[in-house]
Every structure is written in structure tokens, then in C-alpha cells.
Assembly symmetry: C2
Homo-oligomer: 302 residues x 2
């Protein structure tokens, strides 16, 4: 019997009194000194960079993980290092599990049904081959792009549900350009409200014992004024909220996200934890630990 994603998350939120997600977007040009110190000094640049990225992420998890409930792994940052990067991604995913953290694979995938099934195998399932099954990343949750419609999401949602994982659909993203399409009027409601309705419908039959669904929504913290409306449209969805810190979102404005349940909102922070205080000002691990704990405390009491 697989435990439901929302129930796993809810237990962790309660236990850690936290709804902070540690965003890991490792840039090989801005790694912590400890990650560089482990370099052997020779070898394939991609492999050395990927190993350094894995050390950097492990150190960030060590430093800040205790104040968090999950890590968000930015797949692009691993993909750019090719096969070595993909191996580092699996290592970081294991480091997160060792620290008791859920792992959200942030790849924003979205494709036609047959391809969506392949992404599901890559991220939450496994792939049958003539040589035996090949396990995927084993993510606890993924992000997905809904532009291709419901039939493109069902394979991801079904595969995630089968393994106790979650799917966060992009409803209202945190970048300024999001307005170009997401805020268009689509027959009396903004497009992001249409997507919210789609997310709610897709997740309605997928709730855990805590009442929350395994189909959640990405809702940028940069537009807090719309959270109440999104909550109305998606009463069961867990909101994954990027955009605090470096992107300017104010954690204090995120209250409506948490109305249905203490685990109904997750606040992701990347640069404002891992890069807290800027470069060259003391120990980045100590600064990351303090920044994560600050964010935990501020957002726990909303």
C-alpha cells in the first residue's frame, strides 16, 4: 500500500513545523568553496563540474535541510552537464532522501500522451527493457506544464498516484512574462483561472486522508493578490510557491494559501538560502542555515 503524497507531506510539515522547500539550482560558476575543495584537479570537465555540483547540493542540504520539508531540483541545472549531470542529479536526490526530505523534480515537462508516459517513467516510474526494468529518478513530486491539455497530464498524474508522488501544474508562474499568456482573458476568466479549474478537476478524485490532493499548483509568490481566488478555485490543491527572496515576493502575503490545511502551501527559496548574504562574506553554510530557519519561522506562523 503506497502512502499518498499529500499525507506524506502533511506528516512531514507537522513534524518539522516547516513548509519551506530548499531550491537547488546549482550553477557551476557559483559553487560553495567546500564543493570546489573536493575536486581532484584533473579529469573530464563535465564530470568534475557534476561532482562539484553534487557536493555543493549535499552541503546545502546538510546546512539548510533541517528547516525544510523538501528540495526542489531544477533539472535544467543538471541537464546542462549532460550524462555526468544526470548522475549528479540522482546523487542529490539520494542525499535529500538521506536527510528525510522529499524531492520535487522541477522540469515543467508537458508533452503528448505517449511522450508524457515516457517522462513519467523517467521521473517517478521505471522503464521496462529487454534487460530488466530501469528505475527512474524516483522523485516524490514533479512540476508539469498544462499547455497540451488534460490528456497530456493524465499519464503523469496516474504514474505519480501509483507511486505516492505528486504533480504540481503550472497555474501562475513567478516571472514577469507570465502575464503574456496566463493572464489573457479566456472567455470571462483569465487563462490561469482556466488552468486552475483544470488542475482542480484533475485532482478531485486524488485526495489523501488529510483532504489535500496529489495534484497541486505552482502559484508564484510574486502575485500574492491572486492567491485567495486561486484557493477558491482549487480548495484541495497544495500550492508550490516560488518567488520569495531573490524574485521579491513577500512571505507575509501568502496566508490564503494555507487556509485549508497547514500543508496546503509550500514556499520554495533557492538563491535567498543557498546564496544568502552574497559571495565572500563568511561561511555560506551558516548563512544558508540561518536564512532557511528564518524563512521557516516567518512562514510557519502565517
Amino acid at each position: 500500500m503506497v502512502e499518498h503524497f499529500a499525507d506524506r507531506l502533511a506528516a512531514l510539515v507537522e513534524q518539522r513545523r516547516s513548509r519551506v522547500v530548499l531550491g537547488l539550482d546549482p550553477d557551476p560558476a557559483a559553487l560553495w568553496p567546500v564543493a570546489l575543495a573536493g575536486d581532484p584537479g584533473a579529469g573530464d570537465p563535465a564530470q568534475r563540474a557534476a561532482d562539484a555540483v553534487a557536493r555543493h547540493c549535499a552541503a546545502a542540504i546538510d546546512a539548510a535541510g533541517e528547516a525544510c520539508v523538501a528540495v526542489k531540483l531544477q533539472l535544467a541545472c543538471f541537464e546542462r552537464l549532460g550524462a555526468a549531470g544526470w548522475r549528479a542529479l540522482a546523487e542529490v536526490r539520494a542525499s535529500a532522501a538521506d536527510a528525510g526530505l522529499l524531492a520535487i523534480a522541477d522540469g515543467k515537462r508537458g508533452d503528448v500522451p505517449v511522450t508524457a508516459s515516457a517522462y513519467a517513467q523517467a521521473l517517478v516510474g521505471c522503464t521496462p527493457t529487454p534487460f530488466g526494468p530501469v528505475a527512474g529518478l524516483g522523485a516524490d513530486a514533479i512540476t508539469a506544464n498544462p499547455l497540451l491539455g488534460r490528456d497530456s497530464l493524465d499519464p503523469l498524474i496516474d504514474a505519480a498516484a501509483a507511486t505516492g508522488a505528486g504533480v504540481f501544474l503550472l497555474v501562475s508562474t513567478s516571472n514577469p512574462g507570465a502575464a503574456d499568456l496566463q493572464d489573457l482573458d479566456a472567455g470571462g476568466a483569465a487563462l490561469h483561472e482556466r488552468v486552475a479549474a483544470l488542475a482542480d478537476a484533475a485532482g478531485a478524485q486524488q485526495t489523501g486522508q488529510c483532504g489535500l490532493s496529489m495534484v497541486g499548483a505552482v502559484a508564484g509568490a510574486t502575485r500574492p493578490e491572486r492567491l485567495a481566488r486561486l484557493r477558491e478555485l482549487m480548495p484541495r490543491a497544495i500550492f508550490l510557491m516560488p518567488g520569495v527572496g531573490a524574485q521579491g515576493g513577500d512571505p507575509a502575503a501568502l496566508g490564503p494559501a494555507f487556509a485549508p490545511h497547514p500543508a496546503a502551501g509550500l514556499i520554495t527559496a533557492s538563491r535567498s538560502i543557498v546564496g544568502a548574504g552574497g559571495e565572500g562574506h563568511g561561511d555560506p553554510a551558516a548563512r544558508a542555515a540561518a536564512a532557511a530557519e528564518d524563512l521557516r519561522a516567518v512562514t510557519w506562523n502565517l
Copy 2:
């Protein structure tokens, strides 16, 4: 001086009298016998499956490549084999180049600007690291999801333009569920028409000597009745058209795509070439070669 994507494509289309793209969506459970025959009989399942996938794709390129101008690499099908799959992807990309084919990395990526830059490094650029630059996949073109708006696309477009690559934005996809959001009325025009306008604007300053832009559009062959209108909205865009063959699209209905230029439309076919005739009926390579040549001839004369 980097040669423009559209000019590179136009020369190849003229030389090969073809606008067929060989879709490579390798399923480890449905590989050609020649791919399985090369298996060493022992070892890590992921590595064996990835090696078999690379042999399968190389054989498909050998068989059908001559009738085509490009391959379309379905990234999901490689990602599901992890690091070994990513290595196979790079090998297949090299096989395509050896056969004189352009490589379209079909990942449908789309993310906030800083992450879009990382995807650009992964697919068309390279990543600076303290150990030296790490080259990305080196794709000749990529597909991208426009839901996050113009600022999420510019890093991909700029990086592609700098290396003579192209970007195909998802305008009207080939799956039935596409209608859920893409066909919503968005202030007097369907959402896919809004995306078409965005694609046209993004590519207006990015045309080659042939007059076509390096910003193209994915326009499913399953909805040929809308191609004339999309062509009106995007007079300079190269249309990448999936959906013929297995998905039911009729090549004869695609005429409007080619109106501005012989290279203004590309027809992608995956299962209908690589799996032509079904399993267990003679040599798949001979059937693939015949199916690709048929499609080339039919679509060249439109």
C-alpha cells in the same frame, strides 16, 4: 560567422528534395532486432538498454536518413534511461550529424528566464565551469513551450540565434487534449492564435537570407484546416508538423504550410517510419527506408 538556421535548412531541403523529419522516440521494448543483436549479454540494464537504443537509432538513420533532412530526438525517451540515456542521446546526435542531418531536440522546455538560460546551455550552448566549458547537446533546433511568456523564450531564442540554431514554439499541438487550453477564446482569438502572434513577433528580427525566421512553430498535422490561418499569422515561420501517420494526419492537406518557401514546413514522422508495417513482418530497415521515401515523394510535390 554562424550560418542562419533557416538558410542551413533551406539548402538541405533543396539538395535532398525533402522536408521529412525522422522522429526518433526509441522504446527499449520495441527496438529493431539489429539493436538487440549487439547486446553483450550482461551488465547494467540501463547501460545495456541505452546502448541498444543508440544502435537502434543509428540503424534507423542509416535506413531512412537519406530521404530526410533532420531527425527529431524525443528527449523523454532518452531521459528515462538516466545518465546512460543522456550519453546515448549524444551518440545519436552525432550519428545524425554524420549522416548530414540536422538534429531537433524535442524537449518542449519552458521555464523562468534564469532557468531557460540553463536549458539553452544544455541544448544549444555550453556551460562555463571552474574546470573549463562543458558543451551541451549541440542541437540544431529545439522545441519550446511558450506558456511562461516572452521573457521565458528570449534566452532560448538568443542562445539559438548565436549558434545558428532554431526554436520551434508549441502553437497548436497534435494531441486531442490540445483543444482544452490552446483553443480557448482569448479575447477574440483562440489562444493558439495568440501564441502564433507571439511567435511571429519573437522571430520577426531573426530571418535568414531565405526570408524564413529561426523562430518556428509546432503546428499539428492533425488540424490541417487551421494551417492557412496560422500561415497568415506567421508568414516567416517554419512549421514543424507532427501527427501524420500513426496520429492520422493527411500529408496532402498540409499545402498552406509550404506557401512562402519550399523549406517553410517540416513533416515529422516517427512510428510510421521506424515501425512501418508493424513487428515481425520482414526487415524493419527496408520498410523504414520505403516509408520515408514515400513520405518524401508525397510531401515534396505539395
